[in-house]
Each structure stands twice: as structure tokens, then as C-alpha cells.
Point group: C3
């Protein structure tokens, strides 16, 4: 193992890249968790969207009543979509940022604040916490991604 990689780059040996891999792994797993939470609420609230998903509850009208929206399911789905909208830019811009040669301490600062803010955002959305808790955590993550994008564009700029 590692023999094949030796012929190519060893990005994974770079500390900034390792930090990026760690935090990206964590925040993508957190996003994936939203699918499980949605499934949990769909099953416990008996609120489905596809007719084939309610077949085990019987046929006809008895199953049809479970084809409905539920406020808790919809809340998790909104949190999931918000993750997609914010974590996708982090993963893409974060990769370019990690390859732009930042100081490890500065990179860790960016990654830690972003991932912490998104974890807080999920709790704020699901509990839910009163505003501006969720809004502020969204803005913090947004600002971190913006800060990384600034460095990427400053370092790489070739239009």
C-alpha cells in the first residue's frame, strides 16, 4: 500500500490538506446524517411522499392518508437543503484554498469555525433555537467560505 501512490502526488502527506480532508469528511458526514434524520421523522410521523413507500401500511385509502407533509419532516429537509447550499461551496473552495499554500494555523482556523458553525446551525434548525441563532451561524459559515474564496482568487487569479 502506498507504492502506487508514491508514483504520483502525496497530497495526503501535506498537513493543510490533511486538515482539509478531516474537516471536509466530518462536515459531509454531518450532511449525510440529515438523510437519516429525515427517514426517522418520515417513519415515526408516518409522512411519506411516494405511494410505493406506504404500501406496507395496506392498500387504497388506508395507505393514502400517509402521503402527506409533516412540519418536522419539512424542517429537517430545509436544514438538509441549506447544508447542500453552503457545504458544497465550502468543499469546492476549501479544496482550492488548501492547495493555495496557506499557513496551517490559518487553515485550521477557517476549517474549525466553518464546521463548528454548521454543526451549531443544524442544532439551531432542528431544536429549533430562537433567532438570530440560526441566522448568525449561517452567516459565520458563509463568511469563512468567502474569506477562503478571497485567498484563492488572490493566489490563483487567471481569467
Amino acid at each position: 500500500e502506498g507504492g502506487k501512490m508514491a508514483k504520483s502526488t502525496q497530497l495526503i502527506d501535506n498537513e493543510v490538506f490533511r486538515a482539509y480532508a478531516t474537516y471536509t469528511g466530518i462536515v459531509l458526514l454531518k450532511m449525510m446524517l440529515m438523510s437519516l434524520i429525515t427517514a426517522y421523522f418520515r417513519i415515526t410521523r408516518k409522512a411519506f411522499v411516494n405511494p410505493e413507500d406506504t404500501a406496507s401500511f395496506g392498500k387504497g385509502e388506508s395507505a393514502k392518508k400517509f402521503l402527506r407533509t409533516d412540519p418536522d419532516v419539512e424542517r429537517v429537509r430545509r436544514g438538509h437543503l441549506n447544508d447542500l447550499e453552503n457545504i458544497v461551496p465550502f468543499v469546492g473552495i476549501g479544496l482550492l484554498y488548501a492547495l493555495s499554500g496557506p499557513e496551517l494555523s490559518m487553515a485550521l482556523l477557517h476549517f474549525r469555525i466553518f464546521v463548528g458553525a454548521r454543526i451549531f446551525h443544524t442544532f439551531a434548525y432542528l431544536i429549533p433555537l430562537p433567532q438570530p441563532g440560526r441566522g448568525l451561524s449561517w452567516a459565520v459559515g458563509y463568511s469563512v467560505t468567502f474569506s477562503m474564496a478571497y485567498r484563492v482568487l488572490k493566489t490563483a487569479w487567471l481569467l
Copy 2:
């Protein structure tokens, strides 16, 4: 061609990375196909969401009746969103996994199962197949991504 790349990394010469590029290319094209299927159903079912999209059907009430939801269109859109929720983590974690130096055979196993599961998932959603076909294919793809994330975090861990 290749001259400029010679100065930098030749990731694309690495077999694991080539496998990653191949399967990621395929699964992203599959996801893009969902847009075409949505467009196909919108046009054949005459079910649109933007008023400007129905202008060719006439003005006023005659066009307004095509501003509606259609079960088939909504089904494809749910499949598309499910793709986004699952393929985004695969692309991000898969890249880090490919750079973590796995055996080629193990990497191919992960990539093949994931892409196979997602193609099956699309058929299961669109036909639709009875459950638990769609649910299981979703769980298989989810587990593969989780397995890659485990290796990434084990290899790269730097918090």
C-alpha cells in the same frame, strides 16, 4: 499537450485516481441526465412552474393552466434532489479517499458498488419499483460513502 502538466502533478497517471475520475464522471453525467428527464416530462405533461415558460402556449388563462405540478415531474425532481444529497458526498469524500492511497482493487470495489447502486436507485425511483428496492440501493450507496469516509479520517486525521 501535457507539457504544462509535466511541471505539476500527474494525478491523472495514478490508477486509483483514474478510476475515481471515470466513476465520478459517469455518476455526475447520470445526475445531469435527471435535468433532461425533468424537461422531457415538463414538456410532454405540459406542467411548468415559470409563467415565461408557458408563453408559447398563448396568453392569459389558456397558458395559465399549464402552471401546475405533475406527479411524474415531481418524482423525477425528487430523484434529482436525492442524487444531489448522495452524489455530492461521494464526489467530495471519494476524491479524498482516492488521494489516501488505497489499493486499486479496493477503490474499484467502492466506486463500482456506489455507481451501480445509484443507477439502480434511479430506475427504482422512476419506474417505480416496489420498496425496499429503492431504499436498499440508497443504503448501499450511503454505506460505500461512509466506508470511504472512515478510511479518509483514519488516514488524514488532523483536527
Copy 3:
């Protein structure tokens, strides 16, 4: 700075990769802007989806009337989702394409057309422009991504 990166790859020194980083940074920032536009319309149209977001407007029925959908908010959200569906494949396939050793001029052509098409698409969606303006700009971006995917699969193919 740069000392740590010297031990690993210097992808960022490669001109094609710098172009990729620049255009990906720009188009991801453009996508992030959709969140701000959504927030702007939610606040000016007073159209919210979470009860906790309307708490500052008072309690009970007086706040409840702001839990509603608004056509302008929904339009921006559709533009945002369309961005996700199209920019995610560009970012993933574009990275692989940039690593596949294309000529700089050819890479710039792809990146410029894609990012130009997506910026036009946003204006076409938000103004809105009459069709087929939005449809054509969508198709242009889609075709560019498809063209890059073709080169990636041709170069990297390992199934």
C-alpha cells in the same frame, strides 16, 4: 508561507489549474449570492417558512400571516437549486478536466463559456427574460460540462 506546500504538489502553479480555481471560485461565489438574494426577498416581501423567523413581528396570528410563500422568493430558490444541479457537476468534472492536461486556451474556453452562461442564466431567471433565453443559457452550460466530461473519460478511462 509556501514552505509546507513545497513538500507536496504545487497544483496552484499550474496555469490550467489556476484558471480552474479562478472560474470555480467565481461561479461558487455567484451561487452563494443566491442565498443573500433569497434572504433579501424574504425580508422585503415578509414571506418566511420557519415560525421562529417571524417572532420579531409579534406573537400568534399577527406573526403567522408572514408564514407564506411569495412568487419572487420561490423564483430565486428555483434559480438557486438550478445552480446546485449544474454547478456541482461543473466543479467536480472541471477539476478532473483541469488535471487531465488540456491546453490552457481550450480550458479557458470551457471555463469562460460555462461561467458566462451561468451568470446570464441567473439574470434570465431573476428579471425574468422571455424564453428561450434562460433555456439556451442552461443548455450552453450543460454542453460545456458534457464536453469536459468527454475528455475526462477519454483520458482517464479505467472501469
